[in-house]
Symmetry: D2
């Protein structure tokens, strides 16, 4: 934000906005204030209190064909033992994105490719993380001693403060997934702590997949396996087959949202809330031929096309997508989704910072009011 | 409780218990108090403040072979239009049970048999109800306009205040289920309201099974289908296949409880709590050859053997059971379960008043301390 | 409840109620059921599912002049060391009241008089207790090591499971208070445990009045004094001066309820909820000349006139009251309050079982619909 | 953050950190990534995942003597009708502070002086605001139609989304207060909305001070005045006399924290939590001669000396303060407080972003481990 003249918008001429005309006396006063670590509020009031948010981020799309090739190249160029994590970072096409190492808003995302037998050394951080598996076989993660196997389109948590390491079984295939973290948020909040484990990989302390097998029964809660007092979901991994079937079930009995079709939140079954404290995630199914209406909301969303082909109009610009393309919708920007297949559904995985918006009391949404709810082409 | 002499237990001679020796003056005083709607606390203190609870209920078992025959007889003897509900009530083998029309504690249970084409007229009450299906085909219930189909070993809610009617499809089979309600609790609390619907059967207002299909995805919460603001679970019906598979999954990764083997609570996925406000329910799996240890707790439990054969020792008495036998464990009574099949698991459905105990701050439990945790034969 | 013929109300002839005409075959069936610990639901359905609650309790009033004299008599007749507690029990004028040792519903109340230097030996129970001080000087209670001084019209908690002993300082005056407990509820729920302390009186472990002095700041929460993880209010005692001033403040800015005038809940400042899990309490101020409207609700209320004179019409019957008279309103009975002083407010302390009603999901209320909201004289 | 070489700290040479040595092939790869809105994570990993937070803010102190003079000058230089609000902004002595118009972290603070008869035009914003009154007589604010009078050392809320206007009664005195807002946070989150009221001042819709008079009774909750469903405290204003007395009470019965002496949170009495969703506030009393120990924590704190004189050592630097001086402690910086008066207490008002830290799951604190808990001089 800059020290522009107070009036920066024609609407700023009304009572209740800053409309001061500077004078030599005021200029002198401003100098004096500056010498005291102070300033005149009215000089910057209209800039720091805009009528509505204007995002610093731009809608951006990454083609899986391109990104996949880069990820595979990285396998040949660096080893995880040296890189820490062999991640290709997705940088929003904006100064803010490049500066904050952000995919959109205060969210980080990257793509990680690993080959059989490789491991990412065990570490932990206050940043929360989750992964969406795009391809491969034999991938796993170990979270605080809980070993979790991973398949395509699975969604897995590595919550804040948990030790974690990942790898691919020796008899698996090269695997690629999308990481989502709140690293930029943690840095912005000056709360990012990091530690490395004293061993490269954790020794699992529980049977493989014990958490999803214990807590993954629909509407069921295990008794007698110890109280779960963590602020994140005990399910830890959400299997694609379960999510897909749940969406088909939902679609069979409801009309769905005009904006999002049929949509499931990855939830904490002990609270009904988000699976992590700082990032939410959804899988949505756009029915064959779905042509969504536009809306906008506070908070940022990063999409990964779990299946199908279509396009989204974001801030008036069309982005065509197909399976495993990644794109983002910045805060308070109009957006609408279209499934180009007339008969088969498209699936969009997405993650967001809605839990932060809700915690701060500023989750706000509105539908596009004109043209039948659709942005002009 | 009676006006026994104050000292009713050898322990009552200590300081802190009532130890008054009556005198003629005191007797006269007691008369005077009685005339003023008053009494001397110390006359009844030890009786109304026992060292620990002593239940008025007795462990009781109902054999399915016997009860099933009675239920089928009832089909020939009364029609649901006349009976309201054609229910054979299970009465605890105690004065309290017969007086309060209670199966155990303040819980009601009955068995209901219906034949194809029959309906139970639509009504509602402040009592909460749930059903566990024992046999049949084509049964359904309609709860506040939501039509729900029912199969064997399914568990279904008809929460307090909801309109509900049940029936069997014309092409179904005779069906038998066990009702559980908190009618005695509602009467004891003087909070029981009843109303009949203006139509014998509700017209469903939603697609069949819309609630379980929307909310029955494991760890998933539907977005955009309207906020759920009810104090009970939106899942409404918990399918046997789901519950059974979840128990096998749980058993694969955990040791289970020494008292209850592997056990799943029928939970509200939006809160992690009980599905209803006043009654909880569980399905538990006793592994082949399981010989449980004894414990006791406040609250009452009514069991329905979902599968297998074994016995339970309750208050020192052995009760052998097989599929669909029903038995109960009264409050604060030692009990332990044994699966007589050496290799196949047994399954026990049960419902309880634990939510009431928790709400009142008196859910208390203790393990049996002697003989390796098992009651003497 | 008795085995009356099914139809017990003219309304019971509609579809949805039990309307079975008994036949010899049915009579035989009933005999057979009785032999199997079973019964025919339709025989008792209309009785156990009434159209609305009908209380077993009666409105009852105890005059302080009379009760005070009896309490003082008790001082001469028994010593607390022998009586445990020297309490004159208030028994509802009904069979249920006398049988359950209840003042109204599942609530217990008594009046306790102690003289300087006396103590009530330390003990604890799962029943929750609270006291409302009517007169005296130098009274105190010790709750889990926290010493609390008590003055007239103070309201003090002795929550479930807490060790407590009471007494009057050697230089104090004879003191009288009203006890409220949920002993009948705990017995009815079969959850009443009792224990005596190994010392007649606890040694205070904290400075006197530490809890009210720490937590009694309006809208303020102490930091750094240890987390409060108990399910009851840390305030422990609510001083009359504070409550009275708060009511005057409230009356200055609000119209009050047509039923209750200005009313304050004794609340847990950490939750906004009730101070205890099973019993709520209020102080209400009826302005000079207040003539309230009638309403009824589930749950039972026991009043103690903290100051003033007036009358209440309960179930059509008028009860005149003045300072420290005690009276009760049974569940679902119409009641309205009148302040006979044209200019000075009257104050009613009351306690209730509303927390239980809320926990069970059955807190229901309705205004009296006719005659301008007032019962016929 | 910049594209520094990966290793930025000697500790970064361990397994689990990025330790890649760049090669020509890698350099070429980085170029290619940059062309695809992508980057190599390992190039910036150590920078964006520091071992612990390092704040961009500096401890800064504003002397009241200086700032007061500037505020009074502003009265002569601009009118509130033109300025919107005549606020002197406090800018942290750092680039981040000047850039973000922040006092510390994502908090905004300013000092506002008004003279009798002036008003600040009614407006609202998603930013939450509160004020701490330093001097004057006759100040008031109107929040969503609730008129609130303000005196010295009172703390008042103007929560997010509420219409508010302020003023000084015509017969009052020039008044000065400190504003605290989360404007930087709302901008950083891209969630800042602003609106002006259609009238310069709201017409109060309730009796003056109705909310504090209704909800300001200690441990008491008004019944029958409408449910409070807002996410912020209904008390709205916390009076100095109440807070001061509560601190004296607390000090009489507890030892206090070694870091903060006796400390009260301005709390929401309906939840026990913070009064606002995004900013917390405290008043603390440092006893005469208090020499606190050092600790550090995530989150930022802005202090206003409500009374007394002393100093604080922040990040090893000493800041002397007296009444109404303002200073700040940035995130994760060691700090300790000393009261220079040997016998009289000092009072520190402060506000913070702890609610945000808690909502994000990253409220972390640790005591200074060396030199008896005190930083070297």
């Amino acid at each position: 934000m800059t020290d522009n003249p107070a009036v920066i918008d024609p609407r700023d001429t009304v009572l209740g906005r800053s409309r001061v005309t500077d004078t030599p006396e005021l200029e002198a006063f401003y100098q004096e204030l500056a010498g005291q670590n102070a300033g005149a509020f009215w000089k910057r009031a209209n800039a720091i209190e805009p009528w509505e948010p204007e995002t610093r981020y731009r809608p951006t799309l990454w083609r899986y064909a391109d990104m996949r090739a880069l990820c595979l190249r990285a396998i040949d160029l660096v080893r995880p033992e040296e890189a820490g994590r062999r991640v290709v970072t997705l940088l929003n096409d904006s100064d803010a994105g490049r500066e904050n190492v952000a995919v959109c808003g205060w969210l980080f995302s990257g793509m990680q490719a690993m080959k059989p037998g490789e491991i990412t050394p065990a570490h932990k951080h206050t940043a929360s993380a989750h992964r969406f598996i795009m391809e491969g076989r034999g991938a796993y993660t170990v979270v605080d001693g809980h070993h979790i196997t991973l398949g395509a389109n699975d969604y897995v948590l590595t919550p804040n403060g948990c030790w974690h390491d990942h790898g691919i079984a020796a008899d698996g295939d090269v695997s690629i997934w999308q990481d989502g973290l709140d690293i930029p948020l943690m840095n912005c909040m000056e709360t990012n702590f990091y530690a490395v484990h004293d061993q490269p990989r954790q020794t699992p302390a529980f049977p493989s997949n014990d958490l999803p097998l214990s807590y993954g029964g629909a509407g069921l809660r295990p008794e007698g396996v110890g109280a779960w007092d963590k602020p994140y979901s005990p399910v830890m991994v959400y299997r694609w087959e379960t999510v897909r079937d749940a969406l088909w079930n939902l679609a069979a009995v409801s009309e769905g949202s005009p904006f999002d079709g049929h949509m499931m939140r990855y939830a904490n079954p002990l609270t009904g809330g988000w699976a992590l404290q700082t990032m939410g995630a959804h899988m949505q199914m756009l029915p064959g031929g779905f042509r969504g209406q536009a809306h906008r909301h506070t908070g940022n969303v990063v999409y990964n096309v779990a299946g199908g082909r279509g396009y989204s109009i974001i801030g008036g610009e069309r982005f065509d997508w197909e399976t495993h393309d990644i794109f983002c919708v910045p805060a308070w920007m109009w957006h609408e989704h279209v499934n180009l297949d007339p008969s088969e559904p498209a699936f969009l995985f997405s993650f967001n910072d809605f839990p932060v918006m809700e915690a701060l009391g500023v989750r706000i949404e509105e539908p596009y009011p004109d043209h039948g709810g659709r942005q002009p082409a």
